[in-house]
């Protein structure tokens, strides 16, 4: 019996290491438990002040560049808007005429990115909107250019956004104007892939990829990216399409959460 403390003393270092490894593994394999999720949400909420000065600095450093980009985008969008308004009136008239169901309108709620996470090759970010702002799990998240991800967990004042660049992220999309549908997954950097698209489909480089009508959480026609290459395998009746995302995932600062609205 008296040998037990001696053995513990001899192997103390190894026992402590084994204990730490076991506890860490328990955490890793229980990441989906409510305890871990709640603790993580609460700690991010409590310590979000740590990121504030760095976010402020980030915004200040790139303010001029952002203004320049926004001004040119604003001009481009204004011109596009004039043309689209004419089409919208025409489209509304035809939809009423053909008795189509009225489309839902969506509210875009702005949010600042408060943390990009310390792990490299980021797959999620934290934003400063939470339950108090009526953010819901699985709500789509956009940048000013297009879809970037969806909400995966919400706490009182912050939410975690799973980005398209997460290997587990999948999204039902369609390629316009041909309306070919497929499932999108991230490959690397800002490149994504849509597999198993029929060879007979008429897709061209430069076609725009938007969210499809089949997604449960994402409303249709939100912009995602544009087609940059099309691969065909001789032994398959399918083709693979690669697209470049409109959003730059490495410089996310302000995001928009899509809420179903009026």
């Amino acid at each position: 019996m008296s040998k037990v403390p001696l053995i513990f003393k001899d192997y103390q270092e190894n026992i402590v290491l084994a204990l730490c490894v076991i506890i860490s593994c328990i955490f890793i394999f229980n990441n989906d438990s409510n305890f871990i999720k709640n603790t993580k949400s609460k700690s991010v909420d409590t310590f979000s002040f740590l990121y504030t000065p760095f976010n402020w600095l980030d915004n200040q450093l790139f303010l001029n560049k952002k203004l320049e980009v926004l001004s040119s985008e604003n001009l481009k969008l204004n011109l596009e808007n004039q043309v689209l308004k004419v089409h919208e009136t025409e489209n509304k008239r035809y939809r009423e005429f053909l008795n189509f169901k009225k489309r839902d309108n969506y509210i875009f709620m702005g949010a600042d990115v408060i943390s990009k996470g310390v792990s490299s090759n980021m797959s999620s970010v934290v934003i400063d909107r939470g339950l108090e702002d009526f953010v819901k799990i699985n709500s789509p998240v956009l940048s000013s250019r297009g879809v970037v991800g969806k909400i995966t967990s919400v706490s009182a004042n912050s939410s975690e956004v799973q980005l398209i660049s997460d290997v587990n992220f999948r999204l039902s999309v369609k390629i316009v104007p041909d309306e070919v549908e497929g499932i999108l997954r991230w490959i690397r950097d800002d490149i994504c892939e849509i597999n198993e698209i029929k060879k007979i489909s008429d897709i061209e480089i430069g076609d725009v990829v938007v969210t499809s009508n089949l997604s449960i959480y994402f409303p249709p026609n939100l912009p995602i990216g544009e087609v940059i290459s099309i691969f065909e395998k001789s032994d398959s009746s399918n083709r693979t399409v690669r697209l470049k995302l409109f959003s730059d995932l490495t410089t996310l600062n302000q995001l928009f959460i899509v809420n179903e609205g009026i």
Binding site: C20, V21, S24, I26, I28, N31, V44, S115
Partner: protein, 158 residues
């Protein structure tokens, strides 16, 4: 031990600077791992360094937010803290850079293994890219810090 607590707030600040402002193509240097390895070397007590590594890892996972799995940082930091404190004076004197760089390789390899639902098994190319990009980015920053602040002498004499 004093070294550990003295430089912990500084490590957190540098990590936040690298996470929020100095990412390279989405990759970030893991300053907390560097901190755990370098601070554990002069401790000479594996039990203490393993515990400290574990708690710094828990802090990183919950508060600095590591994106995916809670527990990965505590696992990596415990292992690296343990091995970093096992180094003998003579070995550290002769192979200081080699030793901490090897531990950075080991730590980032475990990180990459757990990220993205076990990268290693579903996309080996991306696992290797992730491992090497982050490791060399971290090692580059580590080398700059070690040389500029003459950390070899500071840590060996501590």
């Amino acid at each position: 031990m004093g070294f550990y607590f003295k430089f912990f707030p500084l490590a957190v600040i540098i990590q936040l600077i690298f996470s929020e402002l100095l990412t390279f193509n989405g990759y970030q240097a893991n300053i907390m791992l560097l901190f755990v390895i370098l601070s554990s070397m002069p401790l000479g007590n594996a039990t203490q360094s393993t515990f400290l590594g574990f708690f710094v890892g828990i802090f990183t996972d919950f508060i600095l937010f590591s994106g995916t799995y809670v527990g990965v940082s505590s696992l990596v930091f415990s292992i690296c803290g343990f091995w970093a404190s096992k180094v003998s004076y003579n070995f550290a004197f002769r192979n200081f850079d080699f030793y901490w760089i090897s531990l950075v390789h080991l730590g980032i390899a475990i990180y990459s293994l757990f990220r993205y639902d076990y990268f290693f098994f579903n996309n080996f190319g991306l696992f290797i890219a992730n491992w090497f990009f982050v490791t060399y980015f971290t090692c580059f920053i580590g080398l700059v810090i070690v040389k500029v602040f003459s950390l070899k002498e500071v840590l060996i004499d501590a």
